[in-house]
Amino acid sequence: MSWLSSFIPSFFNPIGAALFALLIPIIIFYFLKLRRTRVEISSLALWQQVINDQRVNAPFQKFKRNFLLFLQLLLLCLVALAAMQPYWKGNAEQLTYLPILIDVSASMGSVDQEGDTRLDLAKAEILQIVDGLLPDQKLTLIAVGASARRLTEFTDNKQVLKNALAKLKVQDVPSNVVDGLRLAQALSRTQEIKTVRFYSDGNLPTKPNPATGKLMAEVDFDLPFSVDFFQIDSPGNNIGITALNARRATPEAWDVFLRVEGAGSGSTESKVILKANGELVGDEQIVLGPGEAQRIIFKVDAQSAQYLEATLEPVGHDALQVDNQTWLNLPKGRDVDVFCPGELTTFRHALEALEGVDVFPLTDGSENAVDYDLLISDKSGDLGKPAGVSVFIGVVPEDLKTLVRIEDESAEVVDWQRDAQILQHVQLKDVVISELPIKNEGVEDIHIEELGYKILAHGNRGPLILSQRDGIRIKYYLLFHTDRSTLPYRVGFPVLVANIMTEAMQRASLTELRAPSTGVLPAMELAKEKTYRVTLPDGKHERRSTNEKGLLKGISATMAGEYEIRDGGELVTKVGVGLLNATETRLETVETITFNELSVEAERERLLTDKPLWTWFAAFAFVILLVEWWYFQKKPTGIPD
């Protein structure tokens, strides 16, 4: 009889059945009210015939006579049933607190042939859950873009949930599911959360499964709850720009690299157009097979600053529009200005061998008055000199002198960060150093790091090389003097100098540039402590101030497009950000999200939520009320016109 039980609704509020007790007074009142109106008529002759005839012809007359009572009883039954809040039990587990994570990354904005975005489809499914919400259930909606954002508190207010859903928009950023899960985890500390529901297209950062070779999304997160992953199907073809880089080919020209990728579901075709300061640099027609990518190179003049705009004009259906445009600011090409005192002959010697480098002070002693791109000095007096990249040799910063002392003993390099930019391909092993930086008594690495330093190379008793960020500038400290080591005589030394030069050129935007992507606008160095007006791509404005170092940073850029920085109406600079995310552009989806220790499969079957029926009962009761009113008011039947 289990099939029978599936047809019997459950009741959330069975106590509402008490309303059935009202049936008794209604019946009593009905019969009390049934005192007939006395009407004197001339003769009963006709009415007696009518009654006799009616008894013969209308076997259901007794029923008809009490039809109003029947309607009233039916109305009360329906109201009582509605008050009992019946519902069809779905296959979803009934949960009291349910966080719903909604992926709002760029790929969720991809449209299908009908023009619906995947976020629209997800919203439609979530609306069903909201409509089927039972009184003891509470939802919270969490939008997961580049970061997680809680849209509502735990609430059973359907209007609040629907409003929040209606306001939800796609962000032109890759998704960060971990952030959303962390937020849900934080909520689970105050509410008992057994399950988190995650609506996504499955377009998550992936890597190939070492066993199967298939792409898998690996999320480094320990789940304190179970995750139901509901996947929204992929909409189809897409083509988009996934990278726009520029590299200085010569002092007079930039090589601009444009990477265009297509979705894995089918072939795509598009026209690629590159403009510099509004002037056409070049265009190209490309056809990509499923999942293919193509790199296109353009030459751009470096004699003046250039504002590049790369645009795709796809042929046929293109699911994602946001990845069809990106921008890049190219500064005017120039030589790198380096300050290096004449005493550091080894460095000067290495620098002068490099092309496009002006080393100061010149032989006549003159210095460049403006900022240096690179400062290499062994004088503590130069610590205050502004430079994009500063390298101090044998100088201990003031704030470190309480933590580290230098003694005349030999030191050796124990370990170093081989992936640090200036130490790439630099072999420090077996370098003999006759100065020994020693951490003072009780000083740990953490104390040094707390002061903003990062240890790049460890000696046997203390740090040897440190880095420190200062806004968009960076300083490196070699706590030993290179002249008192064998480093200048090693192959690694010119490599070290070249690495330093590369970083200086990169920071001066002179060697390699990458188009900014959505998320946060790149930091900009402007006037100190000044307020600027930032115009967003959707036309909205924000007022932002630079800090005491003149840095304007932390501007959220969740929309692809051009951001204008204005000072009192005058355009200061313009920065364009594009999506530039291959995962989002390819619209690749995974059916499994691998968490630490367990994997979550995408649910193919749509969830059947509990369906409340009280609205139907209430609506039916209203109809019965109307019928009763009509029956009570209607003109008696059979009267000839």
């Binding site: 109106t37 008529i41 001339s42 009518v50 008809k64 008696p636 039947t637 059979g638």
Partner: protein, 302 residues
């Protein structure tokens, strides 16, 4: 103008003067012509002793040879009877239902007016007019003896004006009582609502058998013709005080109309079967319209 002056200027309270005057000029138009022992102004279809020539017909054995036209016989050598129109008086018996059921919605008032008007037509044409008030009680019922001529007008109106409503004797029973008192052929004008549990066919048969042509006038009130009732009711019979509980009256109105129409059709057919006439009317109909339009157009009067 006050009511006193109107009453003073009117010959009777039953009929306005103009209706009375017009009624005096009109006469009843029976379907058949009947003879009576006594002569009157009414033309009889059957030959009679009169000076007004009517027709010739062939002589048949047994005919009174006094009526043979000897001039024709001498010319044609065939005996022909010379026929004369016979003017003789006709009985007009007015059976006015004055049972309690007629009290409703001006039914009795209209019935009295119709009786008065038709009676005036009879009196002014020297018919023998008699009035029987039916339904008031068993035994000898109040009635106006046959009278004729303008001299009887006052008595006639006086009788009608004094007639009151009350009683519960059904009309078919009253007809039988009338026939115990009435003699003479002519017209029986039965004015009633005919709302009876019994069957009028026997009474009509007796009237027909007594040589009276039946003029049936059914007067019903507006609520009887078109009741606007709904809900559960307890109907009380005005005559017998009997009660009848009816639920969902509104639902039964259709059936009621069917039965009312069936009664009307039945009464009409019963009258016509006996060479009579029948008309059903609402008590709200203006008297002039009833008399000088409907009755005139239906050939009741001329």
């Amino acid at each position: 103008m006050n009511n006193m002056s109107i009453a003073a200027s009117q010959f009777t309270t039953l009929l306005p003067n103009d209706v009375l005057a017009r009624s005096e000029r009109m006469r009843l138009n029976p379907m058949r012509r009947r003879t009576n022992r006594m002569r009157g102004e009414h033309m009889s279809g059957k030959g009679g002793t009169s000076i007004e020539f009517s027709d010739y017909r062939e002589y048949v054995a047994g005919d009174d040879i006094r009526y043979v036209d000897w001039n024709i016989f001498s010319r044609l050598n065939q005996p022909y009877l010379k026929l004369y129109a016979h003017e003789e008086e006709m009985h007009v018996a007015i059976l006015l239902d004055s049972s309690a059921s007629m009290e409703f919605e001006g039914k009795f008032d209209l019935a009295r007016q119709v009786a008065a008007s038709l009676g005036v037509m009879g009196l002014m044409n020297v018919e023998r007019v008699s009035v029987y008030t039916c339904g008031q009680g068993r035994g000898r019922m109040p009635f106006l003896k046959p009278c004729s001529g303008r001299s009887s007008l006052k008595r006639f109106f006086q009788f009608l004006e004094q007639t009151e409503v009350g009683g519960s004797i059904p009309i078919e029973e009253s007809i039988e009582q009338v026939l115990k008192q009435h003699s003479g052929k002519g017209i029986a004008i039965v004015i009633s609502d005919f709302l009876t549990f019994g069957d009028v066919s026997r009474g009509f048969n007796l009237l027909h058998g007594a040589g009276l042509e039946i003029y049936g006038v059914q007067v019903l009130g507006p609520t009887e013709l078109n009741p606007e009732l709904a809900g559960d009711m307890r109907f009380v019979d005005a005559e017998s005080n009997a009660t009848l509980d009816v639920s969902s009256v509104g639902e039964l109105l259709g059936l009621y109309h069917q039965h009312r129409q069936a009664l009307e059709d039945y009464l009409g057919s019963q009258c016509r079967k006996r060479s009579g006439r029948f008309i059903a009317t609402s008590s709200e109909i203006p008297l002039k319209e009833l008399l000088f339009d409907r009755l005139l157009r239906n050939g009741w009067i001329r």
